[in-house]
């Protein structure tokens, strides 16, 4: 067992990672509640955005423009998908709607493979200016990107909760989560609210893609499947509670990184989200909550 000091740096990186998972998880939960679609293309959208940023920086365009393009790309592509495929699938099973987003995942995945084919050995990366510099807390080195990762998670979780609670649009989204038909009857412009949810979720995908490309690695597969970690957090929260999603995401991020220094487990640390989500789901199913909920939905 390594000593405590070896674990310490991984607490910081784990919290940063957890923060990004949290903001992704929150995006997934909000979209699912508002439209009934579990957006499995979240990671692929973020990855594509990050690659666009990479390409723009390579073409020596200004950095800030590249970041904005990444985030907007996420929003726009998600909005387009939602507008085209939302309505025809609106009355189908939630499962079918989730599987359809896998179609978008494959399209984006293929496009990334085509535009940025795997290089043999050469490492692509995005570095944000916040990587340099930082500060020290209790003897731990923290760089600004890590702080942004954690803060983005906290701020967006709190912000989204407040948005859903206090704004008119947020109230409309919550109403739609309960019953789409009745909400429409009450005069809420259902399509427009859905569009807002799609766009918001896409923006979060863009932010998550950009941060993860810096914090983890700029690689299509890695970034696409990092969505599974945030998905695990959203699942632990049974696709309902934003607060639980946040806590679960932080736990997944920290546990994942804390396993790194333990030699016997380090290769298995990528299993953390799967294992935690599986335990949570099975525990929840024992209490029959998941089953009754999905029966309502099906």
């Amino acid at each position: 067992m390594p000593s405590w000091s070896e674990f310490e740096p991984f607490i910081v990186s784990g919290l940063a990672l957890g923060g990004v998972y949290a903001l992704s998880g929150v995006g997934l939960v909000v979209l699912y509640r508002a439209t009934g679609v579990l957006y499995l293309a979240f990671g692929a959208v973020g990855a594509m955005g990050a690659f666009l940023t990479y390409a723009m920086i390579q073409a020596s365009l200004p950095d800030w423009l590249a970041w904005i393009v990444c985030i907007l790309f996420g929003g726009v592509i998600t909005l387009i998908y939602g507008m085209i495929f939302g309505p025809p699938l609106a009355r189908r099973d939630p499962l079918v709607r989730a599987v359809a987003t896998l179609g978008l995942t494959l399209i984006l995945f293929g496009a990334m493979d085509l535009l940025w084919p795997p290089t043999g050995g050469e490492v692509r990366s995005i570095s944000l200016p916040t990587d340099n510099g930082g500060f020290t807390v209790a003897g731990l080195q923290v760089d600004w990107t890590q702080l942004i990762g954690l803060c983005a998670g906290v701020v967006l979780t709190v912000g989204t909760a407040a948005f859903l609670r206090y704004t008119k649009l947020g109230t409309a989204m919550r109403a739609m989560a309960n019953d789409r038909e009745i909400t429409a009857t009450l005069g809420v412009p259902v399509r427009r609210v859905e569009a807002a949810a799609w766009f918001g979720c896409g923006i979060l995908a863009g932010i998550a893609g950009l941060l993860l490309a810096d914090l983890v690695q700029l690689d299509p597969t890695t970034l696409t499947f990092l969505v599974i970690s945030s998905l695990a957090a959203a699942l632990i929260a049974r696709l309902r509670s934003i607060a639980v999603t946040f806590v679960a995401a932080i736990v997944i991020g920290v546990v994942h990184d804390l396993l790194t220094p333990i030699t016997s487990l380090t290769n298995y640390r990528d299993m953390t989200p799967f294992v935690l989500a599986a335990i949570a789901l099975l525990w929840v199913s024992r209490h029959r909550t998941v089953m009754t909920r999905s029966r309502e939905e099906a």
């Binding site: 984006l108 990528d270 299993m271 099975l282």
Partner: protein
């Protein structure tokens, strides 16, 4: 006395029905076309193919078993699994390990690999089947991710010792052995086709008998199936176990086909592509499984020959999934004959119209 008589009559009727369902083919034309096609694939096709395509054709036979299992789960029972790629990996790992460890005859090893995979699949499936719909799909996706991580660390057996059978330092790696009667590529292709055929027959028999009817009832409505006295958990688990069994068998055959297995060749993405092609091929039809395997294995080989990147194919699969889910839920296996019929009708109409017009004009002059 009378009661016994009716019971006997009922039993006789049930037996008669069973015999009819099993023995008398519904569509004799359909059956004879299938038989001719199978004979063609077994005897004529290997002569017509180059070595390059023989290897890929073998993969088509193997993957048609995997998509058959997935189509069974999705189309017949309504269970979406995103973890079939992982189940295939378990089968391949077990098959390779047993082929290195023992000198048992090949078919025995294949069946053992199927049984081990079935046991593992059932252990995983038992709790997972308590979840339904979306949650089952996601838990299987998690499973696929987890198994890929484990196998990336454990590695596939390459003739080493110990439980994992992996020897990281070996320079000379022995190939995974093949059955003595099917050492060459062509012979192994025939072997794989026969295995696939047996699996299709196994599934067909299931579909035509009690489990098939139970699955159909479950897919229509689980509460109604429950009310009709069907043990839904049992039959769902049965479908799950059957799919894992045949996928495990496919895995063992795959291990011996590729002869060297590397964990880097198996990705989580494969499980997603498997579901994509199964949906595109058509999950309500056994032919759909064959079409899906052709899409997944032969199409890339052909495109590679033409110098087209595999990435285009990934995009095509993505578009295909969206198209199938929005407009043609029964996939190519259902859509293609319909389109052909429509085309035939169109051509017939085009042929008939000038003739009718000529007849009409001939009448007036």
């Amino acid at each position: 006395m009378a009661g016994v008589g009716t019971k006997d009559a009922a039993a006789a009727a049930v037996a008669g029905q069973r015999v009819r369902l099993l023995r008398r083919p519904e569509r004799p034309v359909h059956l004879s076309v299938t038989v001719v096609l199978v004979l063609f694939v077994l005897f004529a096709l290997p002569q017509l193919m180059s070595g390059y395509y023989t290897g890929y054709a073998t993969l088509v036979a193997i993957y048609s078993i995997v998509t058959l299992g997935l189509g069974l789960l999705v189309g017949r029972v309504g269970l979406y699994s995103l973890g079939q790629g992982a189940i295939l990996q378990i089968g391949a790992w077990t098959g390779a390990r047993l082929l290195f460890a023992t000198s048992q005859p090949f078919p025995i090893v294949v069946i053992e690999a199927g049984l081990v995979t079935m046991a593992i699949g059932t252990v995983i499936g038992l709790p997972a089947l308590r979840l339904r719909g979306l949650y089952l799909a996601l838990i299987t996706l998690m499973l696929a991710g987890a198994i890929t991580v484990v196998l990336a660390t454990v590695n596939f057996p390459n003739g080493g010792g110990g439980f994992t059978g992996y020897n990281g330092t070996s320079v000379h790696i022995p190939p995974i052995r093949r059955p003595s009667i099917a050492g060459s590529e062509t012979a192994y292709f025939r072997y794989a086709v026969v295995v696939a055929l047996l699996m299709f027959i196994l599934v067909y028999l299931h579909l035509r008998t009690r489990p098939g009817r139970a699955w159909a009832a479950i897919r229509q409505s689980e509460p109604a199936a429950l009310a009709a006295g069907i043990n839904t958990t049992f039959y769902k688990l049965w479908a799950w176990a059957l799919a894992a069994f045949i996928t495990g068998i496919a895995g063992a055959v795959l291990a011996s086909q590729s002869q060297y297995l590397y964990s880097i060749n198996f990705t989580t993405q494969d499980s997603i592509i498997l579901l994509a092609v199964a949906l595109m091929g058509g999950v309500y039809n056994l032919w759909g499984a064959v079409i899906a395997a052709l899409l997944m294995q032969l199409l890339p080989a052909w495109l590679q020959n033409l110098g087209v990147s595999y990435a285009w194919l990934t995009i095509l699969f993505g578009v295909g999934v969206l198209q199938v889910l929005t407009t043609a839920p029964a996939g190519i296996a259902d859509q293609f004959p319909k389109d052909m019929k429509r085309l035939g009708r169109l051509i017939w109409r085009l042929v008939r119209k000038p003739r009718a017009a000529r007849a009409a004009s001939g009448g007036t002059t």
